[in-house]
Symmetry: C2
Subunit: 430 residues, 2 copies
């Protein structure tokens, strides 16, 4: 027999997939127990020059040549973006073809329906490549950690922002220069908003949380904040206080519900996640049996993401080859409510500028105290009359209390400016 | 339907398995799509007091009540040690029962035959718990990294020795005191040889290498050295040279063959593995597509190892429940030769004591030079006439050249003592 696949798209990751299947094809075929063959690749433009050597008639611009081809057992969607990727995935499933995708946007926004569609049509969809590139995470969550009640997932899931924050931290670059460098190196898009503003990380944590907690996660229902407002002064203060600033995506489970969010966080300098630099990704998982485990690696790129996609292909191909029924591994049993960030407890770092006047500290801390915000540290640095830069770190407090404090501080005549407010992750296991 | 399992043994890990199945039973049953039931547990002594509340008639001292019981679908072997564990595993497979085991000794020494036996009887054997406790590693190697040609596995695979080395490094404890502390805390056995002398790590790296390289690995055919000879002076010198000493288990692939070994290594202080302390384990994997990935977590213990065992049980139970044929995932296709350590290149740390005489440095380095050993660093510390402590770090050189140098140094009248020789891992990806 022969397992024939159709690939949608021939961009970076798809080229990586073709390259891996070419290079490691014979050992991959051994693992499958059958020969894997790329039957067709859907492209947009037939005249585009490509580096890959491909056999004749492999490329087509007509999706129906793949979806309607009964010889093709499996569709590998690597177009990215919402449409037409979503439509093609759905059509493939309806036609009874199993699907491999690395599309985090489609899986985060439409995962629930797509999983239902796959089940209904008795086929399977694999999407290991949609989160953290080559780092094995989706399958380990579904399989190797299946004995656990997962209580926390915390991850550095976006390489672009991690690269920028690393350069700010290690080399003292400012945000604009670090972003420029990331763009020059190809780590950031010329329109970097999806990375910088936290959406990319949000799609990924939504996917991981839905698997870990077996509950659909609506990406419009949790707090997402990017790194645009991180100033070098914040990075320096973090260092001085023995923290590192990372864009952290977290999903914690409590009896009240799921606390999911993406935002910059102060994390203790000695925590394993603090040591994840450059464009690396890392995912920290806490389960009630396993304790804490962390995985670390390249979260993006042609070959790392290609590695995840090809592993998904191998798994499906093996099932197809041995006529196994598709495993019903996607199990959104529950419907756990998401907590509103206002109700969640955090410590906060606040960097303010106040006027250099008698009693100002008492008035600032008075407002905080009236809102039940108590302080873990207060640092007053580089006093430059008439401006006093003031850095506060609070004890854990509900976000709503901080929000009320901010409104009152803004009404305070002593306040010149609130430079930044960043959440402090004290409770990460370490 | 109901999936009935029999457990062999009721020690630490088995108690963890019972506890997890009790605590997370309802969600585990959801994942399986069927009810999982412990039908029998084999124990040695019926009169032993146990903390677990167990229903009547669950315990037996007769292995045949499990193996000959046609109602039992799966045997979970958690006795440990070579015999009777091996015999029971084999009998179970022959009786057509799939097996889950956490037995690293049996899988490392007899894996090839056991895998053949499973295949022959059309059943499966899962052994995720045999390496690195709860850290998902065997399944990710088989599944999530299946697209890769693996080129290196480097791991801290033994928690006891890592605890001892961590305490020596962080608290300046000597070996004997650190071992004593590990024993008091239950991290080390009263007869700690299997951990301390590297055998435990050797079993684990043999299992990982056989999976990654799809080739059987004979544990009698590679170099194994433990940590008994590590002195506080070596720890201090490592720190001064910006290294950390770890008991590293490595398996590298080259065109010439597999370079597998377990021994203490100097690793660069900034390498992720250098930061793995206490009883934690970590495994670094390099694949040609994925690049480098690392996993980190608790490598032993009741619940972490129980987590791995129960995940294996879930996977098998799901297959049994849906009448899937066992997946033929164990694939020792090749027979790659193991390299003799004598032929392998390494850098070496050498700590010597020589007589304080004119020309001694020239004579020592002369011997090394004659054997093609060139030096990366030379440190002479705390000169205490008439003894000069001398620390050398070499450039990479074949082990056989170091061995010849040692013989010649020992014949040198200037040499008082070779305190220690430790390999230096320069090439770890970082």
């Amino acid at each position: 027999m022969m397992i024939k696949i159709g690939i949608l798209g021939l961009g970076t990751v798809a080229s990586g997939v073709v390259e891996i299947l070419e290079k490691n094809g014979s050992s991959i075929n051994k693992r499958i127990g059958d020969e894997l063959l790329i039957e067709k690749i859907l492209i947009k433009n037939k005249n585009k020059k490509r580096d890959l050597k491909l056999k004749d008639n492999l490329l087509t611009t007509d999706i129906n040549e793949l979806i309607d081809n009964p010889e093709i057992d499996m569709i590998v969607e690597l177009i990215g973006g919402e449409e037409p990727a979503k439509e093609y995935i759905e059509k493939s499933l309806i036609k009874g073809k199993s699907v491999v995708t690395a599309n985090k946007l489609v899986m985060a926004k439409h995962g629930l329906n797509i999983l239902k569609l796959a089940r209904k049509n008795n086929v399977q969809i694999n999407y290991e490549g949609s989160v953290a590139g080559g780092i094995p995470i989706i399958n380990p969550l579904k399989e190797s950690l299946a004995a656990n009640k997962i209580t926390e997932i915390s991850g550095i899931l976006n390489g672009t922002t991690n690269y920028i924050l690393s350069k700010m931290t290690q080399k003292g670059m400012n945000y604009e220069n670090a972003l420029k460098e990331a763009q020059d190196l190809g780590y950031a898009e010329s329109e970097p908003s999806s990375d910088i503003d936290g959406y990319d990380a949000a799609f990924k944590i939504a996917i991981l949380a839905s698997i870990a907690y077996e509950s659909p996660v609506n990406i419009n229902s949790f707090y997402i904040e990017g790194i645009r407002n991180i100033k070098l002064n914040d990075i320096k203060m973090a260092k001085e206080l023995n923290y590192v600033i990372k864009l952290l995506a977290t999903a914690k489970r409590s009896d009240a519900g799921l606390d999911i969010r993406v935002h910059p966080s102060f994390i203790p300098a000695e925590h394993p996640l603090a040591l994840v630099n450059e464009s690396y990704n890392a995912i920290y998982i806490q389960g009630d049996a396993v304790g804490d485990v962390m995985s670390y690696g390249k979260g993006a790129g042609k070959l790392p993401t290609g590695s995840a996609v090809v592993s998904d292909i191998i798994q499906l191909a093996r099932d197809i080859s041995s006529n196994q029924r598709p495993e019903d591994r996607d199990t959104l049993f529950y419907n756990i409510p998401l907590l509103n960030i206002k109700e969640v407890y955090n410590s906060f770092y606040m960097r303010l500028e106040v006027r250099d006047k008698p009693g100002v500290m008492s008035r600032v801390t008075g407002i905080l105290g009236n809102n039940n915000v108590s302080l873990a540290s207060v640092i007053q640095k580089n006093r430059l009359t008439p401006v006093v830069p003031l850095v506060l770190i609070t004890h854990p407090i509900r976000e709503v209390n901080i929000q009320k404090s901010i409104i009152e501080l803004k009404n305070l005549e002593d306040l010149i400016k609130i430079n930044n407010i960043i959440r402090v992750e004290e409770e990460l296991i370490s």
